[in-house]
């Protein structure tokens, strides 16, 4: 095997400059005429966003992980590591707390403690090459399904595996397929829901970008089980790379005979087309998604009848999330027993979470169901940066809820999360530390759902709007103590009277933050105090006379000319002029740390 340089070039990697790395590597190889010496592979995301742009170097018996690279590092990497197998310690990842470095990717705690069934192949596959996928065992699962099983048996396997929908609600996939299979119709559809819209969630994008064939293979198997003849990948146009890769993958699969008439010489025919969504959050809701595919305004409509009975163009339609489809391939390949051995009693398999926010190791983590939050956040995520305290984690995006530190040992599965007032959602996990104001967080998420509401039900369209207004008033220190009860009442009413999942879960962030962080609400309302020092109206910036050395940096940078003071003398902030932009707080040299935030605000 030739040494190989694997460059992570998903959207996040590209944003951090991985394309320049790719160009530099190719350029260097061409100039030095090293084509025979090593290979370059441009793959999808490797999952470790914190360390982008990163590369994996395949050497005999080793997989070395270099992180945060720059184009000028390429020469070193090629000459020293690829050609001479020397490990360059400055490129290695080191744990933020212990400062210990790791050379092999599999030793890094972030990767070591994961179970990367779906994401694991990303570094081995160039997304635009079907041959790479086939080399990694791709489409054997499809062959197995078509050769060895009848459609009913496929559904049986999926049912036995205990796979539940990864889109959020967790409906048993096998059962859904069975309903769709049993619905009588001349044509049926399968749809891959790639309209991932939660702020901070991107695992579907990463899968489609990095390993599109695994999703397509799952869809073909599903269509075979259900008896569908047409498949649709509904992907938002904000994911241009995913759109490109999935388009390419469908084309290649068609050329290789995995799609089209008589797949793999069987009697089964199936084809996939790609529909791009315009990026409305609500179009991830299955009925709105159907409306959008049909060319109507993307607004949910009432069920029953469920799409499995009457969906796209009035035909039975099975809609599954990207991650669910990718799981199918693995289940057929390795069997339902293997799959159901992972996870808890009611939630099987692994789940990908996008671990973001105030966390050391930001990235996509794939873990078995039932793992505790603590393990994800501390063992894989490496804890909270800057010696801050963990405060809460928001799961399930804007429809989910905030889980406090007291529930850190909560096992992650569908039921436990629901009981805690949150939800699995598509798997966003936003970690918050002590500097996060929970009222502000609730307002942020609610504002998002408010803007993304389709506008059909008054409860969702206007209920959320009035809740945002109340939250806004609280963060400005104008809240009334009755507001908490009012928020709970409106929140409960919105939950009960809305038509679709968006409205029914929109108030979750507010209700859970009130449930777990009521004291913060009360502090905002009664004491006009923001304990996390976030809400502008409730804080003031002051300069600590004992710490200030009079370096004048703050005064020079103040946009409002609010800071006065002679050089080498203690400076003061004129509260009447201060616009609370926080620049002084940021620019005050760390050795002094003289600018402080205090709450309640000075009058």
């Amino acid at each position: 095997m030739k040494p190989t340089l694997i460059i992570s070039a998903g959207t996040c990697g590209l944003a951090r400059g991985s394309n320049e790395i790719v160009q530099a590597a190719k350029e260097y190889r061409r100039k030095q005429k090293l084509e025979q010496k090593f290979e370059i592979k441009v793959t999808g995301c490797h999952g470790f966003c914190e360390a982008e742009p990163n590369v994996i170097i395949l050497l005999p018996g080793k997989r070395i992980f270099y992180q945060r690279l720059k184009p000028e590092n390429i020469e070193d990497i090629v000459e020293r590591t690829l050609l001479n197998q020397e490990i360059i310690s400055e490129f290695l990842w080191s744990a933020p707390d212990t400062k210990k470095t790791y050379a092999d990717i599999d030793d890094i705690p972030f990767y070591k403690k994961q179970q990367r069934i779906l994401l694991g192949n990303n570094p081995s596959i160039e997304p635009d090459s079907i041959l790479d996928y086939i080399r990694c065992g791709g489409y054997t699962s499809l062959k197995k399904a078509l050769d060895e099983y009848k459609p009913e048996e496929i559904i049986g396997i999926i049912k036995r595996s205990g796979l539940r929908g990864r889109g959020g609600a967790g409906f048993p996939t096998g059962k859904k397929w069975e309903i769709c299979r049993n619905a009588r119709s001349d044509s049926k559809y399968v749809v891959c829901n790639a309209d991932e819209g939660d702020p901070g969630a991107y695992m579907d994008r990463s899968l489609l970008e990095g390993n599109p064939h695994s999703v397509i293979e799952g869809m073909i198997i599903g269509a075979y089980g259900i008896g569908a003849t047409e498949g649709i990948v509904y992907v938002r146009n904000e994911y241009p790379l995913a759109v490109k890769h999935v388009n390419m993958a469908v084309k290649q699969a068609r050329e290789k005979g995995f799609l089209g008439k008589g797949i793999l010489k069987s009697k089964f025919s199936f084809d996939i087309k790609i529909v791009r969504g315009a990026g409305a959050f609500v179009c991830g809701e299955e009925t709105a998604l159907i409306a959008s595919i049909e060319g109507r305004v993307g607004r949910p409509y009432a069920r029953p009848p469920y799409p499995a009975e009457k969906g796209l163009w009035g035909k039975p339609t099975n809609i599954n999330n990207v991650e669910t489809w990718a799981n199918i391939t693995q289940i057929i390949l390795k069997g339902s027993q293997w799959f159901s051995s992972i996870g808890t009693a009611s939630s099987k398999g692994t789940k990908i979470f996008s671990l973001v926010g105030k966390i050391n190791n930001t990235g996509l983590v794939e873990v078995p169901m039932g793992i505790t939050l603590r393990k994800i956040i501390y063992d894989i995520g490496g804890g909270i940066p800057g010696e801050k305290e963990f405060k809460a984690v928001q799961t399930g995006g804007p429809s989910g809820g905030c889980i406090p530190a007291s529930l850190l040992d909560l096992p992650i599965d569908y039921e436990s999360l629901s009981q805690a007032g949150a939800m699995m959602g598509s798997g966003g996990m936003i970690v918050m530390d002590e500097e996060t104001c929970m009222v502000d967080v609730a307002r942020y998420f609610l504002n998002f759902t408010q803007e993304e509401s389709c506008g059909k039900c008054p409860s969702c369209r206007l209920g959320t709007k009035h809740m945002v207004k109340i939250l806004d008033r609280i963060t400005r220190g104008k809240g009334r103590i009755e507001d908490i009860a009012l928020l709970e009442e409106i929140g409960e009413n919105v939950k009960l009277s809305s038509l679709c999942g968006l409205g029914q879960t929109a108030s979750n962030p507010v209700l859970t933050t009130i449930k777990y962080f009521r004291n913060e609400y009360e502090a905002h309302i009664q004491e006009k105090r923001c304990p996390a020092l976030v809400c502008k109206s409730l804080i003031s910036y002051v300069i600590d006379g004992e710490l200030c050395s009079g370096c004048t940096v703050c005064a020079k940078n103040c946009p409002g000319d609010a800071i006065t003071g002679e050089p080498k003398k203690v400076h003061t902030i004129d509260q009447a002029k201060c616009i609370k932009c926080g620049i002084c707080f940021t620019v005050c040299p760390p050795k002094f740390k003289a600018v402080k935030k205090i709450t309640p605000a000075l009058q």
């Binding site: 009432a302 408010q450 509401s453 506008g455 008054p458 038509l499």
Partner: protein
Amino acid sequence: MIKLNIDGKQVDARKGETVLETAQRHGIYIPTLCYHKDLSTYGGCRLCLVEVKGWLKPTASCTLPVQEGMEIITESPQLKRLRRFSLQLILSEHPHACLICDKTKDCAQYQECIQKAPVTFGCKFCAQNGNCELQKLVEYLEIKEIPFPFSYRNKEVERYDPFFDRDYNLCILCGRCVRVCQEVRRAGVLDFHHRGPKTLVGTAYDLPHLETGCQFCGACIDVCPTGALRDRFGKWFGIPDKKVKTTCMLCNLGCSVQVNIRNDTVVNTTPDNGDLCVRGRFGIAPLVNHRKRVTVPLMRRNGRMVQVGWKEALEFASSRLSAHKGKTGIIFSTQMTSEALDVLANLARHVQCTAFSTSVRIPGADQVFDFKGITKKAAFIIVNTDLISDFSPLLMRLRQRLNDPRFIVIDAIRSQFAQNADLWLRPIAGQEQEVIDDLTSKNSNGIAGIPKADMLRALELLAGKDPYLVYNTMSVTGVHSGKGMKVIPLNSSVNAATITRMGITATMSDVLDDSTLTCLYCIGAGPRPGRQYATVIAQDCFLPAFDCDLILPSATFVETGGTVVALDGKKKRVRKAVTPAGKSRSDEWIFSEISEMLGISNKNGLVRNVPQQVPATARFKGTDVHFPLQLIVRNNCYVYRGALLSQLLTGFRRLRNDQSAWINPATAKEYGLTDGAQVVITGKTITLHMAVYVTTRVPEKTLLIHTYSSMGELVSQPVKLEPVGAKREPGKER
């Protein structure tokens, strides 16, 4: 039959029904707002929430299909709370000051309101006051306060389109207008804009309705539960206190129409169990209430028209008719009741009038079309006729009855319907008959400028079908149906069938060209300019445009009773809805009075012989160097008796520029013409002075004009065009 339990009561439900429908059938009230019986279910307002035993959350009953053994609860404290919550939220965006005010009743009694206030901020200032569904629901749900701050949308009231106003500050987003426009009328003009709290109903790119293909059928207004959509004319007349069902006499479809009346004044007309077109919905009320109505008999004295009593007027009329016995011509409008026509025919016979004719030719009017005979196999070929702008209720009816049949349009003009039909064949103007003939054959190579592929597609659509030829008989000349085709004859003469049975064979030209006549009795038509008669008697609802010696004021069809025979050959009742304006009287009364003065008995039977087919008229082939343009003449269906709707009502003038000659932009450029430019159109037999309207609807080298009785008998022919005078700015007409 499905059995379920609603509020502890065992009820039967039909398969496919929703819980709401079942409850309504069994007299169980569930409040609704977005639900409408003629539209698809929406489930948006959340007022019809019910609890289902075993379900976690309440669910909307309007979208919930019945299932065997369901247990439904329609009233509970939780449901009441949630319904109140939804309505309160809706009202937080809708002006609600009066809705929740406990002094509303006193206020209405004592305080005069500024009804034309530009902004509606309370029910007192809303045209829908008393008819609004929100008012009823507020009362039912006992809402006394709105716990949310009021957020007014502050949108400008949209008044730039004809016929109706849109105040989206009052809109509650129930989506009924959107659904009726998309599902029932298939116009698709309306949809929702934006998302979240910014959601609003509107047209594509917020264009005016005139530019979005709106049919102005008014269906959106009729389903709107609030005052957001109101027709402009009767907006402030108040809530109707009387409703009369009658038949619209503006075309031969004879649609059932409900006349809404307040204080003996027509407020508006709404569809009665069916659909209406723009004429029936927006034309009737302003016509009846028009300020140009003649309301008293007028007689010429010393060169001036002066008001006289009926006795004097009728004596004058009868004395003239008997004085000119044998030398009198009568021309009349077809938009009269059968009863009036009977008396008139009798009168005509007794005064021995040599010429007696309808004011327009109505070939094919003797044919009737029976809806009952039509089967699901029917397919329709529409020739030179715009079903949407002229006969839309027929289209709705065919679509409903036959579950979406196929429509093929043959028309050189890009009509509104041509764009909506399954297939539009655009032949060279004047060669429609070739196309029809070709459609009856088995194969086609393309004909009359239509590509082969289109013709083959047409044959494919018609294969195994029962073809019907649909056309405006007054507009399509020289066309006869192909082999095996049935005909649906359309025209603006509601009583055409009666008239043809009367055996009238003369055309209007026969009357007007008769030089022996000394007296002309005109009911909804006029003499040729320059032709002198000893006496001219006019009888119409509106002041005639020609000189006459006597004007007898007719009542409109809303003010008279009688019957008409419509397209289906059936008698339809026309009911007197309001008292005739001023001293105007029904045509029947006027004819009877004259007959009585002349000593004619009304009991004599009528001559009813079958008329000859009116011969086919000019066809044109190729172009003539002297007359390089083709003039296409179409019948103007927007007419009541002697008057064009567009002459009387601004809305219709803006809706379609039907008094101008339509010309293609390329051709207009060639002649250096812009919108509104005056031209002289000269053909072998005609000279017309008109303005032009530049539109892509007509093909190049073509002019389209809409004719009506007062323009005389025009036929399609080659013409030439000369611009005259200074160009006028478009849209600057009075």
